[in-house]
Amino acid sequence: MSTVIAVVLLLAVVAYAVFGGADFGAGFWDLTAGGAGQGEHPRDTIEHSIGPVWEANHVWLIFIFVILWTSFPEAYASITLTLFVPLAIAALGIVLRGASFAFRKAVVKLGHRRIFGAAFAASSVLVPYCLGAAAGGIASGRVPAGGQAGDPVHSWINPTSILSGVLAVAAAAYLASVYLVWEARRLDDTDMIEYFRRRAVIAAAAVGLIGIIGIFVLRADAPYLFQGLTSRALPLVIVGALCGVVALVLLIRNAPRGARLLAVVAVAITMIAWGDAQWPYILPESLTFAAAAAPSGTLTAMLIVVVLAALIVIPGFVLLFILDQKGLLPEEGVEDETDVDPAGLRTQAHKQSNQ
């Protein structure tokens, strides 16, 4: 049963990377969009695309933690003890990001928007880096078993962590730009299609380059993971890389529809490959999933949660995405007032403001 939960955990991590990662990536493009005038257009597109869904995406992270601490508490204790610093920074970054994103939408003055926008964008880069670095610390076997603290510094400042942190930021930016191309197409915004397409190509190239560097880093620094990636998980790695390359080609040829799906698949498969390469260890070479697993009663309860999630949450999530993608949850109005205002609120309003 611990195997099933381990797979669920991996899928939750993948989901967070694919959905949440894109939100972080949108923040990256927000950060790099330039000054207020120059960056207004892309920022509008970004806001439009992540507005309705970002809160729901955060729940993946909560799910990951809940699965970890209920099902593999020993590993969770080791991880939080060892990786205190990057996780603490990530936690604070999430507060800063979420709050300032919401605030930016709620304020009107340019100066205020700028402050919140900067906080939002900067923390959007910081958080995935820290989470990636923490994952790198785990994957390279720097977190000891037994609820013990490992090295508080080198567990997250090491070649694998730097690699995975940078890779997380780049992959998030890549996913986001691919989504944003699609979003811009939906809005029929030629400028933005081109704008984000160019950035998607650059980001894809960056991810590919980091991936190639990663081969050497992992060989030297995370031998167990490297061995897994080059043997058992090799087919997955190849498929992931192929998807990435094809997505890049499609992007260059300006065929973003297929590119979006392939980009997601590429990232997802690469992450699954990571999980496969690390198997059977939750903390490589010191603690297996089976050894870390909670008693069967807990695992059963978690399975029930997962089944309920599949029954309740996934349809809801799908509904949200469909409504969002169909433009049924609009942020910008194009209809005339009668439509906006079924009960004649405007008239009422005038009365009030006159009082």
């Binding site: 729901a56 709620a106 809801g316 209809e335």
Partner: protein, 488 residues
């Protein structure tokens, strides 16, 4: 060893280890302070997340059913405010999930398999809430009115069951159940049903749930009371006040009954906590109910206003004054709250009961006015009291949580694990504490400023449109705001 090769690496490592030496500070008080601070902050947003959607739906229902324009405007604006408070609540809640591990890794490592179970379900409900809140907030314009109304209902249900799930975890810390230990004290078997439905759950969950409606109701009503005191006597403000205040007023008497039951549960199941609440040094019968007062280091009580026999009588009315109340000194010093903690618990208890009673009287005033005059009290003094009632309700709830949390000390898992054995070994916690305090202070202030700004712009622009920002008014507002900027 790993990364840093060469001179730069040496410098980095040396600096970092020097920093480590500087920051060597006992993490226990800082971890407790941080947990208390972040929980106290988060819990203010909880009532809004749980009960505001309900009140919004009341307004929404009224708006649709009776074609009431003011009610519909109210529902629309409330949903926009809710988006902001929900977002802040979501991120501060996420921080709490980090903190369980970052601050209490030994607790999670040893008890996660039991304590963690309710959070699995909480995650489900939170997910549902997040999804439907997004649909509800963004769906005003294009969804059909009644379909849109129904997308709000899952928010209310998810809020209720979500808060029950979280309280289940806290209740489990007070009444641990549903696990088997081996001889080394490791959890080897877990019964999730018993973990979730532990003995403390029914009382605690009911108490918190009703508190959420009580605090949410009074807090929102107080905003409209202030508006009415400032002369905004239109129907819109009236509706906002009456819907919210009625919810709060209905909750108060229910809450007093539940609170009484919970206190008696504590009397039977956590005698040390009860002794701290009632400030009882030694086991005896005919224990007085001391209002205020102070417990001295030598376990004598000074000051305060003792009401003879009342604590005994309240503990079990069937035996009246003869009811025996266990004293603090009945258990070894390391298994009971310290004198300082006892004084905190007792003071907070008095605050909770005192403020609760005041809110009850206010609710009675409101109810009597409706019964006899068919309208809410007209005097300005009522509105002034109602304006104070919101913050007072928040303080009441915070005090209640202090009673239950500090009263459980020194235990983190009652009878099984002490706080000092649960805490992280990371000595830099104090840095995170200060970072969190600064960040939360900014977030808190900004939340209030943003909500106020939204309200001001709603007022200025009048009606409701979402031509531009989903979390706030705009478009026609934009022009208004620009005028505001140039003028003021």
């Amino acid at each position: 060893m790993d990364v840093p090769n060469g001179r730069i690496g040496v410098i980095v490592t040396a600096t970092l280890s020097a920093l480590q030496a500087i920051v060597f500070v006992n993490p226990v008080p800082w971890a407790r302070a941080q947990m208390a601070f972040t929980l106290a902050f988060h819990i203010i947003l909880v009532p809004l997340g749980v009960s505001w959607a309900f009140m919004t739906l009341i307004a929404n229902y009224r708006g649709l059913r009776h074609n009431d324009r003011d009610a519909l405007t109210l529902a629309q604006r409330w949903s926009k405010y809710m988006a902001v408070t929900f977002a802040v609540g979501a991120v501060t809640g996420t921080v709490l999930t980090f903190e369980f591990g970052l601050l209490w890794p030994r607790f999670m490592g040893r008890w996660g398999e039991a304590f963690g179970v309710p959070f699995g379900f909480e995650g489900l409900f939170f997910f549902t809430e997040a999804i439907f809140i997004a649909i509800y907030i963004y769906g005003w314009r294009r969804l059909k009115p009644w379909a849109h109304f129904w997308t709000g209902v899952p928010i209310v249900l998810a809020g209720i069951f979500g808060s029950i799930s979280v309280v289940a975890a806290n209740a489990w810390m007070n009444a641990p159940a549903g696990f088997t230990l081996d001889s080394d004290g490791n959890v080897i078997d877990v019964d999730p049903i018993q973990v979730i439905f532990n003995k403390s759950l029914p009382w605690q969950a009911a108490h918190m749930l009703v508190a959420a409606y009580l605090v949410g109701g009074f807090l929102i009503a107080s905003v409209y009371a202030v508006g009415m005191l400032r002369g905004r006597r239109d129907r819109y403000h009236y509706l906002g006040f009456v819907i919210a205040f009625t919810v709060g007023a209905v909750a108060v008497p229910i809450q007093m009954g539940i609170g009484d039951g919970l206190a008696r549960w504590v009397y039977s199941n956590q005698p040390e906590k009860f002794a701290a609440i009632e400030m009882v040094p030694t086991t005896s019968s005919d224990v007085p109910e001391t209002l205020l007062g102070h417990l001295n280091e030598n376990y004598t009580v000074s000051g305060g206003l003792p009401i003879p026999g009342l604590a005994s009588w309240l503990s079990d009315p069937s035996t009246g004054k003869d009811t025996v109340v266990q004293g603090l000194t009945a258990v070894p010093p390391d298994e009971r709250p310290t004198v300082r903690q006892v004084n905190i618990v007792h003071l907070c208890w008095d605050i909770m009961v005192g403020f609760g009673t005041a809110l009850f009287l206010l609710a009675v005033w409101y109810a009597l006015s409706w019964i006899f005059r068919r309208r809410m009290p007209a005097t300005k003094w009522f509105l002034r009291a109602a304006a104070v009632a919101g913050p007072a309700a928040v303080i009441t709830m915070e005090a209640g949580w202090v009673v239950t949390e500090v009263g459980r000390q020194p235990w983190i898992v009652y009878g099984y694990m002490k706080v000092e054995d649960a805490v992280t070994g990371n000595t830099g916690v104090w840095i995170m504490f200060f970072a969190v305090v600064i960040l939360y202070a900014l977030v808190g202030t900004t939340t209030i400023l943003v909500l106020r700004g939204m309200s001001r712009r709603f007022r200025r622009s009048g009606g409701f449109t979402d031509l531009d920002t989903p979390y706030g008014p705009s478009s026609i507002t934009k022009a208004a705001a620009q005028t505001e900027e140039t003028v003021g």
